[in-house]
């Protein structure tokens, strides 16, 4: 009766012990939740033949991934498909339990009444996790029994008790204990309705976005670990193939890779340098276009020169192929219209002037688009400035020199600093599509090099090392450029 007498709007605070336990519960649940995505901790890897890159989550959703090395024993009837369905079901139940945990953790941000209900979920979840683990263990026992049939069956199945089974078991017990303690220490008074503070409600609504960002943008940083291991795709990371900083020193001490790196850096810096050296072109384009008297013509030029920006680099290459290949426009024009016999040069196969050619393709694709921001900038300049200058007797070149260009400078500085900061990232699409054996050594920029050695040649560790350096230098350059911008213009660019 006393509890009902609490007037609405009065906040009921829990004891400080309860608060600590609450945070502990949420922490344990978060860690357990993340464990789902780490293949090392996958409790479902009940055979060494199950893909070591499969996490518990993958195990729960993809039959193909867990059985792709089991085709033979499955075909020969050494193991039943049922066995793997059992495994998947077990994994799915564990994932379900973890979802219950997370639901409970979310509800624990509410008022005491909501906490009291919400904390029941993780207790249920912990039970589900244990149940799922028992199922997985049962699948393992079945697999072991199948493997025991003969030596050849054992070789084909290779059952193994995954470490994840114990880890998840311990995690489930921890979740259960912390939740139970937090639940027991909840204050006795209760509110009328389940409610949650708005700040937490908004946070929870935003949480899915944050999780996606974490998984796809921050989790890859965990992939930097490959730089410290002797690793080929399909291997597993163990302390046996941990090599410390071997690849970092190898990159500089091995003559071949060092020369490669120097060559690739030269290409990268030349391409970026050419880009920066011509970064004034869009301004010139915009300023000159504004001088054209017919506004219809202006609009036509702006519309048509922007089109190339919206096609992919593959299509740019298709166009280059149509124009410059052996039977392309240039050659057939020379042969059939100009009467030059034997004009059949494949311009795409040569490495002459390749850097300038790449720059020209980039300009063809991007000039009209990059000019738009300056065209908009010119439209935003105060007309009174021009009128005043005209009264003072300025001609159109003086107007450009003293009004238009200074007006566009702040935008240009931002663009310039951004391109300096992105000096090492030329992107790989353009260079990949134009790459061929003849021009490879001249066209291979850093991004393409990483792709070529990492994906094509499968040298994961060394390409990761290059990537790590590139990321770190990139961030340093960005902060440097930002610092310059802050010091000079009093404004940051990021």
């Amino acid at each position: 009766m006393q509890a009902n007498a609490i007037p609405q709007g009065v906040e009921i605070k829990g004891s400080s012990l309860n608060k600590v336990l609450m945070w502990l519960t949420r922490f344990v649940i978060t860690i357990t939740g993340m464990m789902v995505f780490f293949p090392v901790l996958n409790p479902g890897r009940i055979s060494t033949l199950i893909n070591e890159n499969a996490s518990l989550f993958t195990t729960a959703i993809s039959y193909e991934t867990i059985t792709n090395q089991m085709a033979y024993p499955l075909r020969r009837g050494m193991v039943e498909p049922m066995n793997f369905y059992l495994l998947m079901a077990g994994a799915a139940i564990v994932v379900l339990g973890i979802l219950l945990n997370c639901g409970g953790a979310c509800m624990s941000l509410g008022n005491n009444r909501m906490k009291r209900v919400g904390l029941l979920l993780p207790m249920l979840g912990a039970a589900a996790i244990v149940g799922g683990l028992v199922l997985i263990h049962h699948a393992y026992t079945l697999l072991e029994a199948a493997a025991a049939a003969s030596a050849s069956a054992f070789k084909r199945i290779q059952p193994a008790l995954p470490m994840g089974l114990q880890v998840f078991g311990v995690a489930a017990v921890l979740v259960f204990l912390t939740t139970l303690l937090a639940w027991l220490t909840l204050p006795k008074e209760r509110e009328e309705k389940m409610e949650m503070d708005e700040k937490f409600r908004l946070f929870l609504l935003f949480l899915p976005v944050l999780l996606l960002t974490f998984i796809f943008c921050y989790l890859p940083i965990y992939g930097w670990r490959f730089a410290f291991f002797d690793y080929k795709i399909g291997d597993s990371l163990t302390m046996e193939n941990f090599v410390g900083l071997k690849w970092f020193t190898y990159l500089f001490e091995n003559e071949a890779t060092r020369n490669d790196l120097i060559r690739v850096l030269r290409n990268t810096l030349i391409m970026s340098g050419l880009g920066i050296a011509t970064s004034w072109l869009p301004i010139a384009f915009a300023v000159l276009l504004a001088e054209v008297r017919s506004s219809k013509f202006q609009r036509l030029v702006q519309t048509l020169t922007t089109i190339p920006n919206f096609i992919s680099w593959v299509l740019v290459y298709a166009i280059a192929f149509a124009i410059f290949s052996t039977d392309g426009f240039v050659n057939s024009f020379l042969r059939n219209v100009m009467g030059v016999t034997g004009a059949n040069t494949d311009y795409l196969a040569s490495a002459d002037w390749i850097w300038v050619k790449m720059l020209l393709w980039g300009t063809w694709k991007g000039l009209g688009w990059s000019a738009i921001v300056y065209i908009a900038g010119i439209a935003g300049i105060d007309q009174q400035l021009y009128e005043a200058a005209k009264v003072d007797g300025a001609n159109r070149f003086q107007c450009i020199r003293h009004i238009t260009i200074p007006g566009l400078m702040p935008t240009y500085m931002v663009m310039l600093l951004m391109s300096v900061a992105g000096m090492l990232s030329n992107g790989m699409d353009q260079y990949l599509v134009f790459e061929n054996p003849i021009n490879k050594s001249m066209i291979e920029v850093l991004d393409l090099y990483v792709y070529n050695i990492g994906i094509k040649s499968g040298l994961i560790p060394i390409s990761t090392v290059v990537g790590v350096f590139k990321s770190l230098i990139g961030v340093t350059l960005l902060f440097g450029a930002n610092g310059i911008s802050k010091a000079v213009r009093g404004e940051s660019i990021i």
Binding site: F37, L202, P220, L288, R293, I307, S312, I372, Q383, V433
Partner: protein
């Protein structure tokens, strides 16, 4: 525009020369941007023998559309078109929904740890772990050789979230406040008030998103290595362009050529051109709509979030 002011000045001979040079320069550059597309087009609709002989340079000869019809027999092209259309529609729709929702929520000053989370989102535009770690991450998540790899990572587009946030901040706060007083909760306010008012910015990001999805090449190249039927159209075109063997042999049923087909033989060059046209045409179709939006999009981006 500034030129209106200067129109009153009488033109000197120097001005006239300068103006003519401007017209010549811009005319030439515009032609340079448009001609390749025109050249591709006339080579796909002209008589294939004339194309092979190199006579189609400036105008089409012997119009026909058989090349486009013949594409239905080119191996693997159909599945690529379907996959690309599917990812363009689904991927763009999900990206727009997430961007709108996230962009709205980050305008909420009351949110717990708002600025921290917003920063965590924005940093990802400037920093990434690198290609190989990203690839290994996708491998770890089981998102290789899997259609979901085209959809899920693309849902988070920090730049678009910033655009939406900036736009929503310009909507008068009083509209939202009055709805809250009437008892609307956050999702209701979002659906009934914010969403209808943000249609212009959502249209902008959806068109850019659709073009990006249509042009996607890198994720297909990296992630679909053992599922050729899931290559995107651009990846498929890249494969064709690099195929030195006769592509025309890919056209199934080439064993029994009818007389009409034999007269108008498809060369692999023409197939390459025609597939290129097929991937360009949708871009050219949405281009007029896009044009309305991109100045707005760029200018909004210049206003920092």
């Amino acid at each position: 525009m500034s030129k209106k002011v200067r129109n009153h000045i009488t033109r000197t001979p120097g001005d006239i020369i300068f103006d003519s040079l401007l017209y010549i320069f811009f005319g030439a550059f515009t032609l340079l941007c448009v001609f390749p597309f025109y050249y591709l087009l006339i080579n796909t609709i002209s008589n294939n023998d004339a194309v092979t002989a190199g006579h189609v340079n400036f105008y089409p000869i012997g119009l026909h559309l058989k090349n486009y019809i013949a594409l239905k027999d080119v191996a693997d092209l159909g599945s690529s078109v379907v996959v690309t259309i599917a990812r363009t529609i689904i991927g763009t729709a999900l990206m727009v929904i997430v961007s709108a929702w996230a962009g709205y929520l980050v305008t909420k000053q009351k949110m717990w740890k708002r600025s921290f989370m917003y920063r965590a989102l924005v940093i990802t535009m400037y920093f990434n772990a690198g290609l190989i770690p990203w690839y290994m991450n996708m491998l770890m998540l089981g998102l290789t050789n899997n259609f979901l790899a085209y959809i899920i990572p693309g849902m988070i587009a920090p730049y678009n979230i910033i655009l939406v946030k900036t736009y929503i901040e310009s909507i008068p706060a009083s509209l939202e406040e009055s709805a809250v007083i009437d008892g609307a909760n956050t999702p209701t306010v979002f659906l009934k008030i914010i969403l209808p008012l943000s249609v212009p910015i959502l249209a902008t990001i959806s068109i850019f998103g659709a073009v990006g999805n249509w042009n996607s090449f890198q994720d297909s190249l990296l992630l679909m290595s053992s599922k050729p039927e899931m290559y995107t159209l651009q990846h498929r075109l890249y494969v064709y362009l690099n195929q030195s063997s006769n592509l025309a042999a890919l056209v199934s049923g080439s064993g029994t050529l009818s007389q009409a087909q034999a007269d108008n033989m498809l060369s692999s060059r023409v197939i390459k051109y025609t597939v290129s046209m097929v991937s360009i045409i949708p871009i050219l179709l949405v281009y007029p709509f896009m044009q309305r939006f991109f100045v707005k999009g760029i200018m909004l981006g210049a206003v920092k979030g």
